[in-house]
């Protein structure tokens, strides 16, 4: 298990550095590079054919100097983990506990994380926007959390790792009364409770 976690960490690190590099490359001013050597056979009449575009310079592959032995997620406390959770929330349509396609995609991502972190136990909180009545929303939240849990189980996450709770509309993430706020509050929220 430890080994697998390290392996995946390497991958993550590599991806991370690539992202960092590409981000830098975009932002940095163009660097003076040696001009490509002229083509062996220069065209007879310059101007008829445009000069060949400069070949992209192949950068040396980015190699992390040393594999970093620290598993960042493993060192975080539960509070730190949940503050910036690797398990993204999934969102629902109004008065619905059906999982839209993007919710299913997020659940697939979450399932992958949970498979890497086999010791994690989570609670899925079902939340609703403020437009429904408080009492009925308790049931709607219950069904939203249950729908997310069932989907995770279908992706191979053990049932005993996933608890649910409905908070109805009691704990909105965004107290506003705009459609954007409502959309944010119609969610199944993932809380890591043990690791």
């Amino acid at each position: 298990m430890k080994k697998r976690a390290d392996g995946s960490l390497m991958c993550l690190m590599a991806v991370f550095l690539l992202i960092v590099w590409s981000g830098c490359a975009k932002r940095q001013p163009p660097v003076a590079r040696p001009a490509p050597p002229p083509p062996a056979a220069a065209p007879a009449t310059p101007g008829v054919r445009p000069p060949a575009p400069p070949q992209p310079v192949s950068e040396p592959p980015v190699v992390p100097p040393e594999p970093v032995p620290i598993d960042e997620l493993a060192t975080k406390t539960l509070d730190e983990l949940n503050r910036d959770s690797p398990l993204g929330p999934v969102f629902f349509e109004y008065d619905s506990a059906e999982l839209p396609a993007d919710a299913q995609a997020q659940l697939t991502t979450n399932a992958a994380v949970l498979k890497q972190r086999a010791t994690w136990v989570i609670t899925i909180e079902g939340h609703c926007d403020e437009r429904g009545t408080a009492e009925y929303n308790l049931a709607l939240g219950e069904r939203r959390a249950a729908a997310a849990r069932t989907y995770l189980m279908s992706l191979g996450i053990a049932a005993d790792r996933v608890k649910t709770v409905s908070y109805g509309k009691e704990f909105p993430f965004d107290p506003g009364n705009t459609e954007a706020a409502y959309a944010k509050n119609r969610r199944a929220h993932f809380v890591i409770t043990a690791k």
Binding site: N82, A139, V165, F171
Partner: protein, 460 residues
């Protein structure tokens, strides 16, 4: 909740009034005065108004038999509260108290200036006395038929000095019963959930305001907290005997049914025993059972159990959500909410789960409450726009009417024990507050003034 023990539900014991149902001899009429012999007793006791009009009542300040501040204050406030209590049921025309400030206070029941009261147009006059004896008040009250200058009601009450309002409430309920054969609700109470103490728990996700259960007198006086658990508590429901409140409590982040015996310093009981998630308890009218909804079999369904948690039984079997049960006054039927047609609607079923039928067909209907006799009505939350209004469905005729009309959102109705009033939550003033209103939509009264308040329940 492991190391941190539940705080006992902290409630100051209510000043209880022992009603010495000790009939005072009517003080004024001398024994020699002959009664009209053929007049039936009921007519003799019942004070009538002018034909077609309700009897007009006056309640001057009670007579303080003592000069201390407390006694004089009680004499004034008991009269005012009694006036308010009698006005609440709208059985009498209550003559405004300031219009008779000039009528000299009687020094004793024997010196009532009846002619002055007759000039004012009073049919009924309530005279009372307050005497402080050690730590108790002795309160006497008489109801006079002004025309006949005759007492038709007279009683003495003894109780603690901490809550003088209960004297007025008791007198009001007894006068309503004697004069109108009406069960008054002046001694009943409200329970509701509130965030007023601004307590919150710092959870793993966000700082979250908790809600606790609060109680108050029916008129909003004596608001006090009934739970002290620092967690989310919702949907309180008074036991029929008024000693306990069942509610939805998030114990260890898991919703369950709690029962708090609010006048005892004891931790709540958990009759559903944490089997699945359990919500929205409702006492059967005889107090022996609790209906509630639970996901214990995977889907929100209605269950019923004995009040001690034994004999749990599932009543609904549908893949939709079946939630928020409410008993009929006879205990033979249960109203509930189901979204089996796609949106929440009100349904009825027999108490064994049979004979399910849908009674609302609108965009959104939630939280039924069933009126006690003599009315056979179900009030519920009905969507009427962006918000909700209180609707009332007549079970016999199927007729439906609204009693609120789009001022804010109006939700979570609960009938009073006599079926004549409802408590509900309204956002008409911005925040969520508890109001009471007559079943005819008149007599709106604001109960809460601080915090946000939700899901009222009116005691039997």
């Amino acid at each position: 909740m492991t190391a941190h023990r539940l705080l006992p539900t902290a409630l100051i014991a209510m000043a209880s009034v022992s009603v010495l149902a000790w009939q005072q001899p009517p003080p004024t009429p001398p024994a020699s005065q002959t009664q009209p012999p053929r007049q039936p007793a009921e007519i003799e006791l019942s004070i009538m108004g002018e034909p077609g009009a309700p009897p007009r009542y006056a309640v001057p300040d009670f007579i303080a038999l003592g000069t201390d501040e407390q006694t004089r204050g009680a004499a004034k406030s008991i009269a005012q509260v009694l006036w308010d209590d009698l006005a609440f049921e709208r059985e009498f025309y209550m003559i405004p108290r300031d219009t008779y400030a000039s009528i000299p206070a009687a020094k004793s029941p024997e010196t009532v200036p009846f002619e002055r009261w007759r000039e004012l147009g009073a049919d009924g006059l309530i005279i009372g006395t307050v005497r402080k004896v050690n730590d108790t008040f002795q309160v006497q009250a008489w109801l006079y038929n002004v025309k006949m200058q005759k007492s038709v009601f007279g009683k003495e009450y003894t109780g603690g000095t901490r809550n003088e309002r209960i004297f007025a409430h008791t007198i009001s309920d007894e006068i309503h019963m004697q004069q109108r054969a009406l069960q008054g609700v002046a001694r009943s109470k409200l329970a509701f959930a509130s965030d007023r103490d601004r307590e919150s728990v710092t959870g793993t996700v966000q700082k979250r305001d908790v809600k606790e259960i609060y109680i108050s007198d029916y008129d909003g006086a004596n608001q006090q907290r009934a739970t002290a658990q620092r967690r989310l508590n919702l949907t309180p429901a008074w036991s029929p005997d008024g000693r306990a409140i069942a509610y939805t409590a998030y114990r260890n982040e898991s919703p369950d049914i709690a029962v708090s015996f609010i006048y005892k310093a004891a931790a709540p009981t958990w009759p559903a025993r944490g089997k699945g998630h359990n919500f929205v308890p409702a006492w059967s009218p005889d107090g022996t059972k609790l209906a509630f909804w639970s996901n214990r079999d995977g889907n929100p369904e209605i269950y019923v159990m004995s009040a001690d948690g034994s004999n749990a039984r599932r009543l609904t079997h549908h893949r939709a959500s079946d939630v928020s049960p409410a008993w009929s006054p006879s205990g033979n039927q249960i109203a509930f909410v189901s979204d089996r047609t796609g949106s929440p609607q009100i349904y009825l079923m027999d108490a064994d789960g049979s004979a399910v039928r849908q009674i609302t067909h609108e965009s959104w209907a939630d939280r039924p409450t069933w009126s006690p006799a003599p009315y056979n009505e179900i009030a519920y939350t009905s969507r009427t726009g962006p918000g909700y209004d209180i609707a009332i469905y007549d079970v016999a005729t199927g007729q439906r009417r609204h009693i609120t009309f789009g001022e804010g959102s109006n939700e979570s109705p609960s009938f009073a024990a006599n079926g004549r009033h409802l408590a509900f939550m309204s956002t008409r003033l911005g925040k969520s507050h508890i109001f009471t209103i007559g079943r005819d939509g008149k007599g709106l009264k604001q109960i809460t003034k601080v915090g946000n308040n939700f899901m009222p329940n009116w005691s039997r």
